[in-house]
């Protein structure tokens, strides 16, 4: 039983990281209506920027903020240079998907050229594991959990109560109608890319702190775990993605405690496949954005 509870604790820690990235992906999909395959590499990019900043003597928190802003700008740039021209041409979703793969090639390998393929580590100590109730967590996990919850609450406040949040929800619901109401949807899309990049970068740093090493393929492998959470919650539904992340986090960690840990991510991928086959609208959603 205690093993189970410890695994639940790990699951919560994993979920707090996955939730940030999944919400970011879901937010972007809800507004732009296609899946960006380069997200994992955005995550790696943010983590590398933060890592590089800490190496130049900047503290971890400002470094993460720096990484977040850089990744947000990368997202905006990707939208303007790559995706928006395609959207204007009115291409099929497949083309956008393949363009995303091309972008992923570029980002991932640019990181390899700049920082090398060797795994690197953050020079921070997470502290020793603590017994928090029945769980076994590091202070770093707790900080990550707190950060994640804070960011998600902030995001909720923004979506629910600000004018921009309203515009975003309107654009996501019906982009043409939103335009007709005078909402500058291109601006909304740009800001969404920025926000998504920001959240992704924070998630990237959290992931690296948990897994302890960072290399240019870290994010790409994690991408499909994130897709799992996104799909579980119903594609394009940020709130569903949070629950999806919780489910994926618990599932991978608890199964990892009882099976060979090497199969941990395979469990997440298996969930993705089974869900897409039998319930593509997601577990919680009544109707998905893309169906």
């Amino acid at each position: 039983m205690s093993q189970f509870l410890v695994a639940v604790g790990f699951g919560l820690a994993t979920a707090s990281v996955v939730a940030l990235a999944a919400v970011a992906v879901s937010l972007q999909v809800s507004v732009t209506n296609f899946i960006n395959f380069a997200y994992g590499d955005f995550m790696t990019f943010g983590a590398y920027i933060a890592w590089s900043a800490t190496r130049h003597g900047i503290n971890l928190v400002p470094a993460i903020i720096l990484g977040g802003i850089a990744t947000g700008l990368l997202g905006v740039l990707a939208n303007i240079l790559v995706f928006r021209p395609f959207m204007r041409q009115g291409v099929r979703p497949v083309t956008l998907l393949i363009a995303g793969v091309g972008l992923s090639f570029i980002v991932q390998n640019a990181l390899t050229v700049i920082w090398g393929a060797e795994p690197v580590r953050f020079n921070v100590t997470l502290g020793n594991s603590l017994h928090v109730g029945p769980f076994l967590l590091t202070p770093g996990d707790l900080v990550m959990f707190g950060t994640s919850v804070t960011l998600l609450v902030l995001l909720h406040v923004m979506l629910a109560y600000t004018k921009f949040g309203k515009a975003l929800r309107a654009t996501s619901n019906n982009s043409d109608l939103a335009k007709a109401c005078g909402i500058d949807s291109e601006r909304v899309v740009s800001i969404t890319w920025f926000l998504a990049g920001l959240l992704t970068a924070v998630a990237g740093v959290g992931l690296v702190l948990q897994e302890s090493t960072l290399d240019p393929t870290t994010g790409f492998t994690e991408l499909f775990v994130i897709f799992g959470a996104v799909i579980l919650g119903g594609i394009g539904r940020p709130y569903g993605a949070m629950l999806g992340a919780l489910a994926i986090g618990l599932l991978t960690e608890i199964s990892g405690a009882y099976l060979n840990a090497a199969y941990k991510t395979s469990i997440a991928f298996g969930v993705v496949i089974v869900l897409l086959l039998f319930r593509p609208q997601g577990l919680f959603a009544t109707k998905g954005k893309i169906s």
Partner: protein, 328 residues
């Protein structure tokens, strides 16, 4: 020099076989299979374990079967197993899912598959992989290159001829019409998914054969030979060369895969060794995006047989909206 050239040509032919197979799936039929290289790997593994016997690997190692069949039988079995696996995957996924979901499922499946092969040693010797796979004929290295060149070029010619036949046949026409608009095709009474299943299996069979040839040529195979990246490179080669056109597929394989790999040898070396491959991948990414943007048909676009007349420019609802907005 001769050795270098034959090596280049053999690898070019094997890559071309893979791209020709992918062309049947993506180019002719529009089935986006991001896990194509997994079938290549299946072909390679099966061809290896059915021909290499139990004693080939010096350090022992564990793998299934360990038969000593003749190489051509092993090659065929590899292709058939890949095709059967393709049929199973098709049955579960392709019939049910839209293109982008399909892509996620195929990549996830490829990751799981990779993970199992890498972790579970009794199957194909885990992360170490198989090595010392015997040559199909024992001879000198140079001469073996010539023999493999003749073999792979011959098999490539057969597959190109076959895909030409398929393209011009009513079967190929049906596939293209399903690719362009499934609803219209259904309106003409063609609602069956079987043509897509057949072409998917043929594509996977070709992938398996290519994998078998590959393993007989390089004599080793391990999980690090089929990272998910490889499927993307093949897809990029097909799109740059020209999806739907077998000449385009050949051109893409030779230019994007072989040409770039060879050109990058002449780059001045700087940084660490990984850089050459990384720069190559960056170039592939840029070329892919630029081609999609400015020349979506590829270098040699799909040919329209003359009795159809030139293709009417497809007008999607969103494109029409965009055009109206531009005109305004």
């Amino acid at each position: 020099m001769v050795y270098y050239l034959t090596d280049l040509l053999v690898l070019g032919c094997i890559n071309s076989i893979m791209v020709v197979g992918l062309n049947l799936q993506y180019g002719y039929t529009g089935l986006l299979n991001f896990a194509y290289y997994t079938y290549v790997a299946i072909g390679a593994y099966v061809a290896a374990v059915t021909t290499m016997g139990r004693t080939a690997m010096a350090g022992g190692g564990t793998y299934i079967l360990g038969w000593t069949l003749p190489w051509y039988v092993g090659l065929l079995i590899g292709g058939v197993v890949a095709a059967i696996l393709g049929a199973v995957v098709f049955g579960f996924t392709v019939r049910r899912l839209r293109s982008d979901y399909l892509a996620i499922v195929t990549v996830s499946a490829a990751f799981i598959f990779w993970n199992i092969i890498n972790t579970y040693e009794p199957l194909f010797n885990g992360a170490t992989g198989l090595y010392h796979v015997p040559n199909i004929i024992s001879t000198s290295t140079t001469r073996y290159g010539f023999i493999m060149l003749a073999l792979s070029a011959g098999i490539l010619a057969i597959f190109v001829w076959g895909s030409r036949r398929i393209f011009r046949s009513p079967f190929g026409r049906l596939l293209r019409s399903m690719r362009e608009d499934e609803a219209v095709t259904a309106a003409f009474g063609r609602t069956s998914w079987q043509p897509q299943l057949w072409i998917f299996m043929i594509g996977c069979f070709i992938a398996g054969i290519a994998g078998g040839l590959f393993v007989f040529y390089i004599t080793a195979w391990s999980p690090y030979a089929f990272l998910p990246l490889e499927s993307f490179i093949l897809l990029a080669a097909l799109i740059v060369g020209g999806a739907g056109n077998y000449w385009g597929a050949l051109l893409g394989a030779f230019v994007l895969i072989e040409g770039l790999a060879e050109l990058s040898r002449f780059l001045p070396s700087f940084g660490n060794g990984a850089d050459v491959g990384a720069i190559r991948a960056i170039v592939i990414g840029f070329v892919l995006i630029l081609m999609l943007r400015y020349r979506r048909g590829g270098l040699i676009p799909e040919r329209w047989l003359h009795w159809y007349g030139p293709p009417a420019k497809p007008v999607l609802p969103r494109a029409r909206f965009a055009a109206a907005r531009r005109a305004r």
